[in-house]
């Protein structure tokens, strides 16, 4: 699958349908899974979609044979994440959905994503967000790279593809690194990489004509026992809503608030 030249790119972008972080989010009482009403495309995936679109636009876009496939695994409503990606400019979509998937952990999700990507034939680049805003573990990109045998360039704050080589810059706190790999590769991007676009009217109309393939586990040769709660390698034993922080003391500065602040710290033995 090596690309020695700058011919058309085939990109898969992972998108996830997650509860909107602007509202209070809940775990369901019985299964400790995330309540998915009030969901949207994960805002961190918008950066991955934007990165994919910029890469293909620099190569003549879809007309030149470049593709950006938006892929999601999730319940029926999760197709909305794919549709949003199509409105933004992705060329087609894949939605893997199956009753058996409920309660999957990162291992199960990465298994299904890997099978779905293999079903698409050779791919140059798999792009993801830096984490999902609900699971927040950042495990799936690395597990997917392991399953597909791809080099991973994660937490990319910049990204370039040239002559079959992908280069990214990542910021690791103590140092900043430049990392490089041959295509095909998996790249996760941070919110530092770009400014995601909004869908425009033309994009929304065009999206209606784009294809979304709906796949079940059997289409991917997977067994229901490998995924969902049964196939998970981890389980949640109990969940407790964090008690709301008690109402604190709020004062208005009358010239001595700095002293009062220090009194407070001293009272809590924080000096």
């Amino acid at each position: 699958m090596h690309k020695a030249d700058n011919s058309a790119l085939k990109i898969v972008v992972l998108v996830k349908y997650v509860p909107d972080t602007q509202f209070d989010r809940h775990l369901t009482a019985n299964s400790h899974t995330v309540d998915r009403s009030e969901s949207i495309l994960s805002e961190l995936d918008e950066y991955a979609i934007e990165a994919a679109l910029q890469l293909i636009e620099a190569r003549g876009g879809a007309k030149a044979g470049n593709t950006v496939t938006a892929l999601t695994v999730g319940p029926a409503a999760a197709v909305n994440a794919v549709k949003k990606a199509l409105q933004l400019g992705a060329t087609d979509g894949v939605h893997v959905t199956d009753e058996a998937l409920a309660g999957s952990d990162a291992s199960g999700t990465s298994l299904v994503l890997a099978a779905a990507i293999r079903s698409l034939g050779p791919v140059d680049l798999v792009l993801t967000g830096m984490a999902s805003t609900d699971g927040e573990t950042s495990l799936v990109p690395a597990q997917l790279a392991e399953r597909l045998g791809l080099a991973q360039l994660t937490f990319a704050a910049s990204l370039e593809v040239d002559g079959g080589v992908v280069t990214a810059r990542r910021d690791d706190g103590q140092e900043s690194e430049t990392v490089q790999a041959q295509l095909p590769a998996l790249v996760s991007v941070t919110d530092q990489i770009n400014e995601p676009r909004y869908p425009n009217f033309k994009g929304i109309i065009a999206a209606k004509k784009k294809k979304v393939a709906e796949l079940a586990l059997s289409d991917l040769g997977l067994d229901p026992g490998q995924v969902g709660r049964t196939g998970a390698w981890t389980t949640v034993l109990s969940a407790e809503a964090r008690p709301p922080r008690g109402q604190g003391t709020i004062i208005t500065d009358e010239g001595d608030a700095g002293i009062k602040l220090v009194d407070f710290l001293a009272s809590r033995k924080l000096l």
């Binding site: 972080t21 602007q22 209070d24 989010r25 400790h32 961190l44 990162a106 291992s107 830096m130 805003t133 927040e136 573990t137 950042s138 495990l139 990109p141 690395a142 597990q143 790279a145 399953r147 045998g149 080099a151 991973q152 994660t154 704050a157 910021d171 690791d172 706190g173 103590q174 140092e175 900043s176 690194e177 430049t178 990392v179 490089q180 790999a181 041959q182 530092q192 390698w233 981890t234 389980t235 949640v236 034993l237 969940a239 809503a241 964090r242 922080r245 604190g248 709020i250 004062i251 208005t252 500065d253 010239g255 608030a257 700095g258 002293i259 602040l261 220090v262 001293a266 809590r268 000096l271």
Partner: protein
């Protein structure tokens, strides 16, 4: 209750004495069983002695140097160590590299991973907070060797009375497969302050500092703390991106978080609302940050912070 099962701690790129988080991991391992260490490059005598102090009887090192690539070489090496040592669990740092090493190792070993641990019980169940701190859950690995990434400050590091030097075992580094090579590294200038992710005190500034982190740094130094920031402040270029606290920055759980000139957007809260004590200074009384503050000052940070820093220096005298 220390059992006899081995608890393997991964020590990534040792470069001198153990880091605080690494000492915490070893201490935690000692509460769960018999600590053992896997180091990604050969330890020197001083490091071996330090590991011995934390009760590590066995240290696994790669038989050949690992490639300078992201994640994959660490995961391949650790998979072989786990096969050799058959530990009851593996503990790793909760950094990007730590989580992703655990992630790939999990696939190699068909083992479950739990990230962001704040406590690990003797039965290896893990306490962590989810949904940006809205819930605390207890999770457990049900398949394979539990792979657990542990947050900083989850336990007080305490060296035991280690006896004798550890046995060093060389392990085949394995085949990492395709990996991204690190072609360039540029270290950031050291600030002399504690690491943001590990600090007991964090003083953070936002758009309200208006380009001047002076008052934030002054208060942080008076308290021996680290400096944090909102994305508005890092995006403006007033401070390095590595100082960002929040959903897409660092998640911190210090004993004290002082927020100044930060409104308290949901993405900021995601990174700091598990702090034990939160103090907010903001000139807008309606700012959402006051909803989560244990102590709040409606006022100008340029007045309040220097006054507080001066008072602390006076009292510490």
């Amino acid at each position: 209750m220390a059992g006899t099962a081995k608890i393997l701690v991964f020590i990534d790129s040792p470069d001198g004495p153990l880091h605080k988080v690494q000492r915490e991991l070893l201490t935690l391992a000692g509460t769960l069983g018999e600590p053992a260490a896997a180091v990604s490059s050969p330890p020197d005598e001083a490091l071996l002695a330090e590991l011995a102090g934390y009760g590590a009887a066995t240290v696994y090192q790669p038989a050949a140097q690992l490639e300078d690539s992201l994640v994959a070489p660490n995961a391949a090496f650790l998979a072989n160590v786990v096969r050799e040592a058959a530990p009851a669990a593996v503990l790793l740092e909760n950094s990007y590299e730590g989580k992703e090493t655990a992630a790939r190792l999990g696939i190699k070993l068909s083992s479950g991973v739990v990230t962001d641990a704040i406590a690990v019980a003797p039965d290896l169940s893990v306490t962590k907070s989810v949904l940006a701190g809205a819930y605390t859950v207890v999770a457990k690995v049900t398949t394979g060797t539990p792979l657990i990434t542990v947050k900083a400050n989850s336990i007080e590091a305490a060296a035991g009375t280690g006896t004798g030097m550890p046995v060093v075992v060389e392990v085949d580094p394995g085949e990492p497969g395709p990996a991204a090579r690190v072609t360039e590294r540029s270290a950031k200038p050291a600030s002399g302050r504690p690491d943001l992710g590990e600090a007991r005190v964090v003083v953070a500034g936002g758009r309200g500092v208006n380009g001047d982190f002076g008052p934030i740094e002054e208060l942080a130094d008076a308290l021996g703390g680290a400096v944090g920031a909102s994305r508005a402040a890092t995006d403006a270029g007033w401070i390095d991106h590595s100082a960002q606290v929040g959903q897409t920055g660092k998640t911190v759980s210090p004993q004290l978080y002082i927020s100044a000139g930060i409104s308290g957007a949901i993405q900021q809260k995601a990174g700091m609302q598990t702090a034990q004590v939160i103090v907010a200074v903001n000139k807008d009384a309606d700012s959402p940050v006051f909803e989560i503050a244990d102590f709040g000052v409606v006022g100008d940070l340029f007045q309040v912070l220097p006054q507080a820093a001066g008072e602390i220096r006076k009292r510490k005298g």
